[in-house]
Subunit: 197 residues, 2 copies
DNA sequence: ATCTAGATTAAGAAAAGGCCTTAATCTAGA
DNA sequence: TCTAGATTAAGGCCTTTTCTTAATCTAGAT
């Protein structure tokens, strides 16, 4: 399994010696996840934070009427999971499902505790992750309340470059909070606007 | 200043002795806030977590086009502030403004550190607060993306009972992500539906 | 008490977005 | 290879929401 991607990601936030890197990678659990397989299931505690080395997953919420709503995607170089459930041990409210055959690195809670004890610098790294998640949520609320579907569509393309080609568009529509049909219309009209501006 | 409301709130989550209550209340800073006054300003670090004893405040975000979007209200028995800025010291992205003359209790960061040192039980209390904020955000995303304006309006009334009478309706509309005019229509039609169901 | 600017209601036209259906492709499994 | 089930594109029609304008209605300032 290849740890380079994750180590590079971490290197953007904290500096690690070779020895510290070794401590960290020894605690990770590599795992191959097949398409349609779940790494988090609503109702069960989320035991791992999951880093995507290859592939793509989605985190979604099932509302009271049984409809699914994609909250976030995770492609290469992203973490995913149900953060709240992981931190508290409470049952997860999200499902996280692989959309493609994927390779991930998982870190469970006791491994994380050990990591904090041996390399306290990681406290900073994971604190930044949590804060980023919090801010991203706040921005998404504002966007959902105030931006049009077309604006949200462009924001999605900025946030997840190249993901549009990889996903069935119903998943994108679910993320945007619109119907697949309307997304199809949006795309056509965006293409049209670009041809004759 | 009356600490009973806050102590009762805390009592619902952790048990405190009289002595611990005294340590806590000694660290709080009572403050009278006039209508239109700000307790958090975007751009400045948020120095305090603010508990509302009497009155009402709103936390809002100003988008790139200069439009305001109310993210949450705080009435009696609620905490408010820009949590992320408070925790990190980064400039606040939210404004928190009093909508009525209010009485609040503020806790600054060094007071919170002292509190944790002297009464570690408070770690649990504030952790629960942060988790609740996180979950509330997640639910609000789903609601904003999938629920109709009328459903969001009913959710608002459940979340903030009696607040509807106290606020100018443009603030409620901003919270719901709709125009004041449309909120007016919604209200009329809800009344109508109740008369002849 | 009077003015005036902002806040609220109202009503109709316009736009955004949803829902349903059809048809053409595109999988994935038998 | 075949077939059933997904997926996408497209069009028409309907509901929801916004926009605009105008009429009332405050509440603070003079």
């Amino acid at each position: 399994m290849d740890y380079a991607l994750l180590l590079a990601n971490i290197g953007r936030h904290i500096e690690l010696t070779k020895a510290e890197q070794a401590v960290f990678t020894a605690l990770l659990r590599p795992r191959a996840v097949r398409r349609r397989q779940y790494v988090v299931q609503a109702g069960e505690p989320c035991q791992y934070e999951t880093f995507v080395v290859r592939g793509c997953l989605r985190a979604y919420y099932v509302d009271a009427n049984g409809f699914e709503h994609n909250l976030m995607f995770a492609v290469e170089d992203w973490w995913t999971g149900d953060l709240l459930s992981f931190l508290t041990g409470a049952p997860a409210s999200l499902n996280v499902e692989a959309l493609e055959d994927s390779e991930v690195l998982q870190l469970d809670k006791s491994a994380l505790e050990q990591l904090y004890a041996q390399v306290p610098k990681f406290e900073r790294y994971f604190r930044l992750m949590i804060q980023n998640a919090f801010v991203a949520q706040q921005q998404r609320i504002v966007s959902a309340l105030s931006a049009s579907a077309e604006e949200r569509y462009h924001a999605f393309r900025r946030r997840y470059p190249a993901l549009e080609q990889r996903l069935p568009q119903r998943h994108i529509a679910s993320y945007l909070g619109i119907t697949p049909e309307f997304l199809s219309k949006l795309r056509k009209q965006v293409l049209h606007d670009k041809r004759k501006p």
